[in-house]
Symmetry: C2
Subunit: 514 residues, 2 copies
């Protein structure tokens, strides 16, 4: 007999989804049993759902196709929502399969019952509930279509009786990529601005930050005198000395306001109009200067590289292949380790074709600047401000790209949120080097306290900002999850340890005490 679970697995395979991240429970047991009949599906266990959903995000950013998440009822979904929030903000295609009680069992309000739709909707572009095993293939393709065309998070709720119910195995019709065509009026407006002699700034995100888009954008800038910047955070950026260098809008609002202060026209592609990450008393929400014309030339769901190609054609530009090479930073000065020394050391040692998953929070800007001259690499960022994505992101990226070295640049406070992901890296023997920036505090919050006018936090406040009593020992935490590691506190030891870790395959953790 074929059941709904079998059809679901086959429909995902027909849609190219062959990698699942999961933490299943009782209501998903028929799905787990169906996985056993399909050895071509790789299903990766995470020991908390933040690991599961963050890994799916990292996988899909690199594989450029969705992963599936298998989640257990409302609470299992809830545990994964923070990283789904990040995936939603990155516009990563993700398909959630959320198990629920059998449909006839729901009215009894058994202990695990909850309103899954209400939980899923804020972080999903599409929410559906399977109500007939016979339409399972259609439901799955609808979810996949929403995920790849949004692009974004699609959540399919699966009552247990839909999984175990008998179903005819009608092959799924795979969802097609169906992006909207660029809007000619907005292209014309942007082209006019580029030819006007006014001070134009491109704000880029999404696929415009991959190789083809970056070269097109740099070519347009070279031809017209416009400048370009990446949005404050981005799902994926291709970077390194063989690609046109690009700046990024700083997270601190004051720095962002200064960077954008003389802009007369802002052309957003993929990115939305830049706004302050948080509001602060007496400071503006928007970052563009007063009177700046804003042109939203391309949005997610459109072919963003085609937008740049049309603009290049309109101004007679060709993809840039000629740009001033950015030099690597000098070797870090021996002595006590600093965040800057870590950023410089990593930028220098990064191997060709590496993937960097970056959740370094207060040390992010140094790495962005120093790594412009690094070997060619992909950079994945924290997109939605929900901390705890670095370790899971690296886990998923390593599964998508087993031939590439993955480096996770991870702040300690946010790393603790999903430290369980180290176990999955150990289990799957992933080629990931995790660098913990161990400052034993939520350093960003110390800065934010100053931003709201408190220069001397007292005892109650300090206990909310500091992680130093007791200090976390990341090498022991890693060992507890089956991974080796080393603690370093000088620049020279960091450089040596990082080089050794990069030279050797498999997971490793460096606790970099700063």
């Amino acid at each position: 007999m074929t059941n709904g679970a079998d059809v679901l697995c086959d429909a995902l395979l027909a849609n190219g989804v062959d990698t699942w991240f999961a933490n299943p429970g009782t209501s998903e047991m028929h799905l787990v049993a169906a996985l056993d009949r399909r050895p071509e599906i790789r299903c990766v266990l995470g020991l908390s759902e933040g690991v599961v959903t963050g890994a799916a995000d990292g996988y899909a950013r690199m594989a450029r196709k969705p992963a599936a998440n298998l989640l257990h009822c409302g609470p299992g979904l809830a545990n994964g929502l923070a990283n789904l929030h990040n995936a939603r903000r990155a516009h990563t295609p993700v398909v959630n399969i959320i198990g629920d009680h059998a449909s006839y069992h729901l009215p009894y309000d058994a202990p695990l019952t909850s309103d899954i739709e209400s939980l899923a909707r804020p972080m999903s572009q599409w929410v559906g509930r399977s109500s007939d095993p016979q339409t399972m293939a259609k439901d799955v393709s609808a979810a996949c279509s929403a995920a790849i065309n949004g692009p974004g998070v699609a959540s399919l709720i699966l009552p247990a009786d839909m999984a175990w119910g008998e179903a005819e195995n009608i092959p799924a019709e795979p969802a097609g990529l169906n992006l909207r065509a660029p809007d000619p009026e907005r292209i014309a407006a942007a082209a006019t601005a580029l030819k006007s002699g006014r001070k134009v700034m491109f704000v880029l995100s999404g696929d415009t930050l991959l190789e083809e888009g970056l070269c097109l954008a740099a070519g347009i800038c070279a031809a017209t005198g416009a400048r370009m910047t990446a949005a404050v955070s981005n799902g994926r950026v291709e970077r390194g000395h063989t690609l046109p260098p690009i700046d990024i809008i700083p997270y601190p609002a004051d720095m962002a306001l200064q960077m954008l202060s003389d802009i007369e026209v802002m052309i957003c592609i993929g990115a939305t109009v830049p706004v302050s990450f948080f509001a602060y008393p007496g400071k503006p929400s928007t970052l563009a200067p007063a009177g700046c014309e804003i042109i939203q030339a391309g949005s997610f769901g459109e072919d963003l590289v085609a937008v740049l190609q049309l603009l290049a054609d309109a101004v007679g530009a060709t993809p840039c292949s000629d740009f001033a090479p950015v030099e690597l930073p000098p070797e870090p000065v021996p002595g006590p380790l600093t965040g800057e020394a870590i950023a410089a050391g990593l930028a220098r040692l990064l191997p060709e074709n590496a993937i960097v998953c970056e959740e370094s929070i207060t040390s992010a800007r140094e790495f962005w600047n120093y790594s412009k001259g690094s070997a060619r690499h992909s950079l994945l960022q924290l997109t939605g401000g929900a901390i705890g994505i670095g370790i899971p992101l690296a886990t998923g990226a390593a599964i998508a790209c087993p031939d590439r070295k993955v480096v996770c640049l991870q702040a300690d406070g946010s790393g603790m949120y999903t430290c369980q992901g180290l176990w999955t890296q150990a289990r799957e023997r992933l080629d990931v080097v995790t660098i913990i920036l161990s400052n034993r505090s939520y350093a960003v919050l110390h800065r934010e306290m100053r931003n709201v006018g408190i220069t001397e936090p007292g005892p109650n406040a300090r206990r909310m900002l500091d992680l130093d009593e007791p200090a976390l020992d990341w090498v022991n935490i890693a060992r507890g999850m089956g991974m080796n590691g080393k603690r370093v506190d000088t620049a020279e030891d960091f450089t040596q340890t990082l080089q050794a870790a990069l030279d050797r395959p498999g997971p490793y953790l460096i606790e970099a005490v700063i």
Copy 2:
């Protein structure tokens, strides 16, 4: 100047809420600053929000008044929802303060923006949003009233400008306890049933499982021949050799059906009609036998002990003080450690007035049975089926009751969900002994696979159920979070190590390999 954050702190204090559990972010910095001006508030940091909300639940179950949670925007709330689901099912009074962007910043859809109401509603009895610093005291008392009278979870969303906005410090009018009176018709129906000679079973939960309720219920049973059982899971049960022993409805549906098979009348107080935790193909959802009369004699929000008192009066019963003492199990046989040996060893060694937080999943039944003869203790259970509550629950219980020893009986798979809570125990120097039942698997799922008919899981399925590759090393994980521990694998070593840990104050972890 007094701001909204000051008023909020004072209004919570006026409502008796002086303990907060928190993981704040930028949008809560004014609240953190206000905490600094109120040293009488104890604010406890958790390194992930599952720790925060689970600790608040444990605190409130023991303190019998709400704790406050301070959570950062939608994703911070989302991380804490699973344990709020458990609190909701336990009917624990909890007040969530959920920071949000400044109200005027919300339309800009900054990266951390999300639909907080949609996330909060499924796990909250009451959801409000502060819209004026001047009404802050009223908003806080409304939240407290909902929490204590539900009783349950109340969520107050606090835009940053409501915290930093100027406010007159009008003292809050504290919320009063305002329970509904028992329903005389249902009391009369239950009394009639008790006097009818039919086979009556009480199904109890909530306050009926504390000392006064248990003695009343046992007295009624002694006078009428009725039997009594606790619901399948309960927020708090008072237990031990000086209290009337009580059974519990088993989690496995087959065992529950058998236990209840001959019942003619079921009187539910606090508990709802027993249903199967999950649905299984071909098995019933409800556990009461066909034709069984169900009387819901008392529900949460009513004075449940008063319901029992009225019933006792109606049948002429007095509180039970005379019952057959239950003997302790024999000393565990030396040799390889088993779940049974752990349950028996703990039941024997439990000190007077201890608190046991139990998330032992597949080993729960042994401990329930063996501990009937233990020293008097409070038992806190996993109420909503959302795993990862044991360590946080123990953390909160220890903060509520600094003079009582807390023992956390914790399965390894669910323990990993919120292992970060060990750090909070170390930081706050809490008197908690954590016993990890280390079977390196989601053992309950192995059982559930058999329940759906799969006796031999294949490689894909086994990788979803087993945690043995690599094995978690809990002693190292504990050390990494600042806590000492020891691994034991024989019954005699377990007993010795447990005795030593109970004799010494402060946090300790025992990895009990079974």
